[in-house]
Symmetry: C2
């Protein structure tokens, strides 16, 4: 019996949603490997990452879904991460695991990355365009210039701690962010900040809002794949 074991794993970022935002290197590796692992959050659901690359991936590729469920139960998550790792490990040759955005920024890939490293399996990261940068581009504003500083937060938690300290704050999930921001940016502060909201940056159904806090309609913000850029206005 021949034991199959993976030789090398490419963690490929496919960017925020437009296949044209793939790098030349990502395309090259996707054409080279035989097996491409695609993350799904639920059985039967299509993979957002796979949708981005499907037109450039050849028909003869072995496309294998990896289930990364959303849950707050750490043990349940770990069970699935370990399962995903075992599926990858037991695949022959060089393989790719794709992830939306960039593999180093809140990616599904990081869940198996740690297991791969612990097992001395070679990993090569192929970066993708991270969504905060794609969103700033679509908002037509720089995130930071000169001596400004930037914070990226996974959600609005502790926003009050950071708002005064930083020039630009990116909040990756906009859930309940509207109420929170409206409380923080009261009469005294609301004109000092520019707020940009981008849902599904660079996708066909992208939605963009930018303005002072009073001008943002948070009811229209789709909470999935959306983020906020909060920028201090300088005089």
């Amino acid at each position: 019996m021949v034991v199959k074991l993976v030789n090398k794993v490419y963690g490929i970022g496919v960017g925020p949603g437009d296949e044209e935002l793939l790098t030349l290197k990502a395309v090259k590796i996707l054409k080279k490997v035989d097996t491409i692992f695609v993350p799904i959050s639920k059985k039967g659901k299509t993979s957002v990452a796979y949708n981005i690359v499907k037109n450039i991936v050849d028909d003869n590729k072995n496309i294998v879904e990896l289930l990364f469920p959303m849950s707050k139960d750490k043990n349940y998550l770990k069970k699935h991460w370990n399962e995903a790792f075992n599926i990858i490990k037991n695949t022959d040759g060089e393989v790719a695991v794709i992830t939306i955005g960039d593999p180093t920024l809140y990616s599904t890939f990081s869940y198996v990355w740690n297991y791969l490293k612990e097992n001395n399996i070679p990993v090569e990261i192929i970066n993708g365009i991270p969504s905060p940068f794609a969103s700033a581009g679509r908002l037509n504003i720089p995130l930071v210039e000169g001596d400004e500083n930037l914070v990226i937060l996974p959600q609005g938690k502790d926003l009050e701690k950071y708002l005064g300290l930083f020039d630009t704050i990116v909040v990756m999930k906009t859930k309940r962010l509207g109420e929170k921001l409206k409380t923080l940016l009261d009469e005294e502060h609301k004109d000092n900040y520019l707020v940009g909201i981008v849902c599904r940056a660079c996708c066909e159904n992208e939605e963009i809002q930018i303005g002072k806090i009073d001008e943002i309609d948070f009811d229209k913000v789709n909470e999935y794949l959306s983020l906020a850029v909060i920028k201090r206005i300088k005089n």
Copy 2:
């Protein structure tokens, strides 16, 4: 006399240093436009950004240098930014301005971007791979996972204020960072942080160091195009 005036400006990020990290869209636009503006820091110096794309740019392109000198004199800088803006403005048709990394993160493009917007000249941002993400990829570590937070600082200033607050800190310039970090990460704290240094990420002469603060040889860190990733170790 026909007055020439630019129709549209593409601000293109060319990534950290490897032409394969260009996006498909960046390549498409570079092939489409007649004029490509390339930033230089000094007359007679080659453009780092142009070096990244030169093999994929056709010979018939009009390559125009824009001088963005390094200086602390704001008026002197503004004079050059304004000159660069005027050169772009008075060019016919659609043009590209290239910048290393990403146009939204400490880029030379942001200097003219503001002038272009004030003059209602259409701008389209084509993102590139930002160097902190390329560097994390080369260090083989995620920048942030799960509920971690990230701060990006233009230099080591105020590092002591942020070190306890964030899971991951990226410092974009490593000048004098060694002494500062060694003072901050004293006996009590030095084992709680992982320090990664990347010089010229993804370039041929890339240099990488990763380890506890004691294991980093800061004398070997080339200060140009280098950054530090400082990560709190979780138990």
